[in-house]
Symmetry: C2
Subunit: 211 residues, 2 copies
């Protein structure tokens, strides 16, 4: 199996120090860390990036949600754009150095994201999740449809547990994104190793077996 990506997304619920401390302990098993803190100011997000780098998290692993300006000045890997963000095309044109993730919820949005120059898309939610109450999950069927529609890597998000990770990957996802499943787990390192093992990452096989 080709290497599949593991993205960890901040919950918006943790104090910065707690978030950074957890990330520092797990980032060896993670490809990208998304700072998605919708109520934080530009300065607070900037400070979070500084604090991550002080804790040896490489900029090349950091993606910032919505605040393209903070991403540009801190020189992190990229940005994640949603409905209320600047459009992919404008960001791609002005900030060609940034990797652009686009949040999508349908085949049509996947097609648009690819056409506009996104580098990957985040599709969900796949399974029921407390963070999306009352909205029907897209399921594996929805994921399969989107994967067959676009050439972009599709990162699946929403209620994915270690035991459902393989189903998601077999449906064609290029990786998964997890929030509370790791960051709010009683044992974040144990949790991230479980996901990493399911994603076929080398070196965690024996460790995860022991969990």
């Amino acid at each position: 199996m080709a290497k599949k990506e593991l993205h960890i997304i901040s919950t918006g619920q943790q104090p910065i120090k707690e978030f950074v401390s957890t990330i520092a302990s797990i980032h060896d098993y993670v490809d990208y860390i998304h700072i998605r803190e919708k109520t934080k100011t530009a300065k607070e997000i900037f400070d979070t990036v500084m604090y991550l780098t002080e804790n040896k998290i490489p900029l090349s692993k950091i993606i910032i949600n919505d605040r393209v300006d903070v991403a540009a000045v801190t020189r992190v890997a990229g940005v994640q754009l949603g409905y209320s963000s600047l459009d992919v095309e404008s960001v791609k044109s002005r900030f060609p150095e940034l990797k652009i993730g686009c949040s999508i919820h349908s085949k049509e949005e996947a097609i648009a994201a690819e056409k506009n120059g996104a580098n990957f898309c985040l599709f969900g939610h796949i399974y029921s999740t407390k963070s999306k109450p009352g909205i029907a999950p897209r399921g594996i069927t929805g994921l399969t449809e989107v994967v067959s529609t676009t050439n972009l890597p599709v990162i699946a998000i929403g209620g994915i547990q270690p035991q459902s990770t393989l189903d998601v990957i077999e449906a064609g996802a290029a990786g998964i994104a997890v929030l509370s499943g790791v960051l709010l787990a009683s044992n974040p390192l144990g949790a991230v190793k479980e996901y990493a093992y399911k994603l076929g990452r080398e070196g965690v096989h024996n460790e995860a077996r022991k969990l």
Copy 2:
């Protein structure tokens, strides 16, 4: 008297269409229009800029509060940075094409803004204003102190009425910034002409005399 600047700052209270419609009717008398809409998303601020340009407001007159990314992709004149924004130095370094205004409240902050590369500072509030209840105004004394401390143009803000405009200018301000005094006036065009007249703008003398 050298030409003094008139900045109009959005109130955060008006629907976009109403704001743009008013700006379209007054912008001939205005040097800079600040989009300061702290609860609006990046997309909404982007759309506001597009709507202003559709209504013939030149990009060279538009300044965006806090969202440097929206300023960069829309290519407006500049940004206004406050306490919760990215710092002046980072923005100056990454976006040298943007004119940078820095919101300050003391001599020390004026010195820092100048050292860090700001192009002007916004100092206030000068007079009591409903938008800053319970905080003592800096007054003409505070303004005079700041002006004597920095080489930056100081734009005065906060409760400035047409009848107090000359006092502010005589204290050394390079201009004034007004929000509700124009945008929420019963007659915005009449109000802006009053300010423009007090600021010594050519061509409004006779018009304002008739008010």
